[in-house]
Symmetry: C2
Subunit: 336 residues, 2 copies
């Protein structure tokens, strides 16, 4: 059945049913929700006096290609990219609002599958889907807003990096870009690598718990790696009015990327976007504490220095500056 | 200069500057905002333990036609339609997040103008633009999320209508649809009518204060008239599991619509969407109090009765049922 056969209100009913039947009612966000899907706005009882909110869209043919992205994964990812922004503040995600613009000729089953992916990640991260909106459009745009709270008044921000801070990153940036290249170019790798890279690109795991640990351990500066490692470090340096020096040999490259992308693997790690790892800065003492407290790899890749706001220098083992190609994803610029 | 010449980050800087230079810093939402545009999420100190949120999109060629809609008006309207949802809950709007999807070949001046319209209505209603997102797309989609609070735990909902309640509406539904018809068909009216109808369609005034007054005076059931009077009354009746009977001769039709649209004016009032008036139900005593407290026209148009959930009957002065054409706007259904 097509979306246009169901109509706007039939589709809302279908999606509200999916949310209702598959939600985890034990989740405290559901328990604090007073009014959810089906009214003019969502209403809930806050868990903390400090609230936070972020919004991000996935646009067909800009962010995703329906030839290589399944609907379930698209639902997962639309929520994941927003959770990652909450993670980059050290926040606790609580509610999601979903705004869909889509063509009437789509199969309603596709949108059911999209919502099932959303509910899956919502349950996994303890958030309640509290409302949204549906409109007809010639292409698919999924806009998610996530609302949440902070344990106390402090948050991780982009603007608190200080000269002398070490720069560190969680996990292995570049895996999502490697996955995208594998899917687009139909590259054949072993089953384990294929699964790893596909998951990195289509079903990223936002570092929500890790962001909260950073904040608790005394980190004050973080961003999520959505545009690319160097691009996102540039955002931090601009906002903090500092420069950064990162060392080529310290950039963590996943063995699977190294084995399969050879010479390109470092470029993928430096400029590939959509990793949703956390990039952060702090004193070496704080970073030592973080490494003990956090359940994922953390690698120090360089340091914050005084200098031109936003300047990021990549150096080799001798300290010599290395030029790099194109510094990550930016909308309205053509891809390299 | 085109959006693609500025690039994503140049455009964000331009828009952040517009917001910063034209905001009203006296507004308490700005004073409680800890982190605004430019970080991964917005952070604020809540004013009340009960929060509310709504999201709505305007999609090019579905909701608006750039041939008849100016960018400033589009900015105003994108915020207004969301404020109207907050109004329909009796809420206090506080923060807005703006997600834009747009083509790189657009002039950056258009987007500046869009944002100026947004800031104008934001200042007028005491909300702070706290963040957002920009992405490239082949057509323009503007998704706004408004966050707010409630004075206490109660809210206006769609689901509290009771048999015996009177049904009332603020203002004159149908003016927005009349304005759309005037603009599309290039109809010529006198200057005053032209201004009234243009404003009703392009620069609607959400009934935010009025929604708060309804709640304070004891109203429990409301919806905003976005899909059309009968369609929205149907939503209330479905959610409340009741029927409604409304009287043809009681429907408030604005004299300008009556004079210029003759036989069609009632059809416009019953099924024209995008009025953003408030439709509500309450006992006659409560409605008497509301009429004294509210600074806009309020007209009783019928009553809630027991019956099939969602059934709305239009009757003439003899109580005889009158059929009506097409019950308002629904996405994915073709227009009548």
């Amino acid at each position: 059945m097509k979306v246009s056969d169901l109509g706007e209100f039939g589709l809302i009913e279908l999606l509200a049913n999916i949310v209702d039947k598959t939600k985890n009612p034990q989740n405290t966000s559901w328990q604090r929700l007073r009014i959810g899907i089906g009214d003019d706005a969502a209403v809930w009882q806050c868990s903390s006096p400090v609230q936070l909110a972020t919004t991000d869209s996935l646009v067909q043919d800009t962010h995703f290609d329906l030839d290589i992205t399944g609907w379930w994964e698209l639902g997962w990812k639309a929520i994941a990219v927003n959770l990652s922004d909450i993670a980059a503040m050290g926040g606790i995600p609580e509610y999601a609002l979903i705004s869909l613009a889509l063509p009437g000729e789509l199969e309603a089953d596709c949108i059911s599958s999209l919502y099932q992916g959303m509910v899956q990640i919502a349950n996994q991260f303890g958030i309640a889907i509290a409302g949204g909106n549906i409109a007809s459009a010639s292409k698919v745009t999924i806009t998610v807003t996530i609302l949440g709270s902070l344990e106390d008044k402090s948050a991780l921000t982009r603007s608190a990096a200080m000269p002398g801070d070490q720069i560190a990153v969680t996990g292995y940036p570049g895996l999502s870009a490697a996955g995208l290249r594998m899917l687009k170019q139909k590259l054949n790798f072993d089953a384990e690598t294929t699964k790893l890279l596909k998951q990195a690109h289509l079903q990223p795991m936002p570092r929500v718990k890790e962001g909260q640990i950073l904040l608790r351990q005394g980190v004050r500066t973080a961003i999520d790696v959505s545009d690319g490692l160097i691009a996102d470090l540039t955002h931090v340096c601009k906002a903090s009015r500092v420069s950064a020096r990162i060392k080529e040999n310290l950039i963590p490259v996943h063995p699977a990327a190294q084995a399969n992308f050879k010479a390109d693997c470092q470029q993928l790690a430096l400029t590939g976007g959509e990793d949703y790892e956390l990039l952060f800065t702090a004193s070496s003492q704080v970073i030592t504490r973080v490494k003990q407290a956090i359940p994922c790899p953390v690698t120090v890749i360089g340091e914050i220095i005084e200098g031109l706001p936003g300047q990021v220098t990549l150096v080799d083992t001798d300290g010599k500056s290395i030029p790099w190609q194109q510094a990550g994803w930016e909308h309205f610029k053509s891809e390299a």
